[in-house]
């Protein structure tokens, strides 16, 4: 579904991604692991069109999307849950969710999706009329995920979806990731909770200083000594 080929993304003169290639097959959950500064978020932003790669290609459903503006990428079916939430703090929770559906033309289905995400995140239903900025950090994270789902994406990019969430909710989020995937959405996941990320994903890539250092089926990677040493604290 998504094929990233040899992309290089720079911040000024600093290369953040160096010849990175990944594949995300339709229907899969693929995880991106790596330390802070490895380039995970840069990769997500490049796929979503927030950043433009200097070279390389990104194919989505067989079409080149590298260089397209992000709203066009959203329309093609890719939604990003950005690291650090970026919710619209002066809009209400309901308005935030409506903005998620902005590019859609099927209003009736969007209404149904609104009901569905409110059901999934009851706290958002409770606070539908409150301003986004008045939510707690964890609630904002839930809103960011829910907002991305409102665009009915084919590919969902989750950049640290459990950041700032309480342990019980973290467990919920991984259940929700499985549900979203089971309902037919492909998922590319950046996550610091490596154990859970390897459990929920079928395949994983490890980024190190902007390059793919390691990749493989997640169940094999979880037994890989280098992964254990760096991320599982063993």
């Amino acid at each position: 579904m998504l094929e990233v080929r040899g992309i290089e993304t720079y911040y000024g003169n600093i290369p953040a991604l160096r010849k990175v290639s990944i594949d995300v097959p339709a229907g899969s959950v693929v995880a991106i692991l790596g330390a802070n500064g490895a380039g995970k978020t840069t990769l997500m932003k490049t796929v979503a069109g927030v950043l433009r790669p200097r070279s390389g290609t990104v194919f989505f459903l067989g079409e080149e999307i590298a260089g397209l503006p992000s709203h066009k990428i959203v329309r093609r079916g890719i939604a990003l849950v950005p690291e650090g939430r970026a919710i619209l703090s002066r809009m209400t929770v309901r308005e935030n969710l409506e903005m998620g559906a902005f590019t859609r033309r099927d209003a009736r289905k969007a209404d149904r999706d609104m009901d569905r995400v409110m059901e999934r995140f009851p706290v958002l239903k409770e606070r539908a009329g409150q301003l986004g900025g008045s939510l707690s950090g964890g609630e904002q994270q839930m809103l960011a995920i829910a907002r991305a789902l409102m665009s009915a994406p084919k590919l969902l990019l989750l950049d640290e979806p459990t950041l700032g969430l309480a342990p019980l909710v973290v467990t919920d989020i991984f259940v929700i990731i499985r549900e979203i995937n089971a309902a037919g959405t492909t998922i590319l996941l950046v996550e610091q909770n490596v154990r859970q990320a390897l459990k929920v994903s079928g395949y994983a890539y490890v980024l190190e200083t902007g390059k793919i250092a390691l990749s493989g089926p997640s169940n094999e990677l979880s037994r890989e000594p280098r992964i254990k040493a760096s991320y599982l604290g063993q």
Partner: protein, 260 residues
């Protein structure tokens, strides 16, 4: 004086919404006290009350024997209380070094005239601040980062460390850390654990909000648990871990984050 920070019956309402009510607890000097609880329980609101982002609706905050609720934020910083933010709030277009230097502002003497005239005393002071800044960047593990980079260009985890350096630049006696390891992997979390312990060994008292239970249980001397704006438990990490109320509201399975 048995406690450095004392919260007495703190309540906070926003419109009709009660975010905190009847919160009382003490933070003894030199300890690391953890504040845990579900999302929306009021933890960050408490930090905002202590640092006077907004005043409490009821009750008072007492720091080192003196009532500080009602004072403005900068006055509280000057008395020795600084913090980091859950949604990182660095000066993104300023450099790494400048961000830390700003944190030191309340400990500097030079005013506008000395600044404009660049007097010798002012220059000496600025040199001193730069030296101190380098020490702090070193302490938080950012010595390898280009000091002239803009703060906004740092990866998330490094931004969190920079916030800690900025908070420490004011030479606080109490520092409030709001989710310092959010977005860090296990190895990086280990690093920050070491950092928190070093800060404690420097004589700084710490109030810590964090969802990473491995860190909280290891780092904290005592825990206070919130739910729906109220304190539901307080005690040692071991006692809290086994508290049925806490398990139900927050931890879920005894194993923590559901890693079976």
């Amino acid at each position: 004086m048995s406690s450095l920070l004392s919260l007495r019956n703190i309540g906070k309402t926003f419109g009709g919404l009660s975010a905190l009510s009847g919160i009382s607890f003490d933070v003894p000097p030199g300890e690391i006290v953890g504040v845990i609880g579900p999302n929306g329980a009021g933890k960050t609101t408490l930090f905002n009350v202590v640092t006077a982002v907004f005043p409490p609706s009821t009750g008072e905050v007492v720091f080192d024997g003196e009532r500080v609720s009602g004072l403005p934020t900068h006055a509280i910083a000057k008395r020795g209380v600084t913090r980091t933010f859950q949604n990182i709030r660095l000066f993104t277009t300023m450099t790494v070094e400048e961000n830390v230097m700003v944190g030191r502002h309340c400990r500097t003497g030079a005013g506008i005239w000395r600044g404009v005239l660049r007097t010798r005393g002012e220059r000496r002071e600025e040199r001193g601040i730069r030296v101190k800044t380098r020490e702090l960047l070193d302490l938080v593990g950012l010595s390898g980062v280009d000091r002239n980079r803009t703060a906004g260009s740092l990866p998330y985890g490094h931004q969190r460390r920079l916030e800690i350096a900025r908070a420490l630049a004011a030479e606080p006696r109490l520092v409030l850390l709001d989710e310092p390891v959010a977005g860090m992997n296990d190895a990086e979390t280990q690093d920050v654990f070491g950092l928190i312990k070093r800060v404690q060994s420097l004589g700084v008292t710490i109030l810590l909000i964090e969802h990473d239970m491995s860190l909280v249980m290891k780092a904290c001397d005592r825990l206070v648990v919130f739910n729906f704006g109220r304190k539901i438990a307080e005690g040692t990490p071991d006692a809290i871990r086994d508290d049925p109320q806490v398990i139900e509201a927050y931890l879920g399975a005894p194993e923590g984050a559901g890693d079976a």
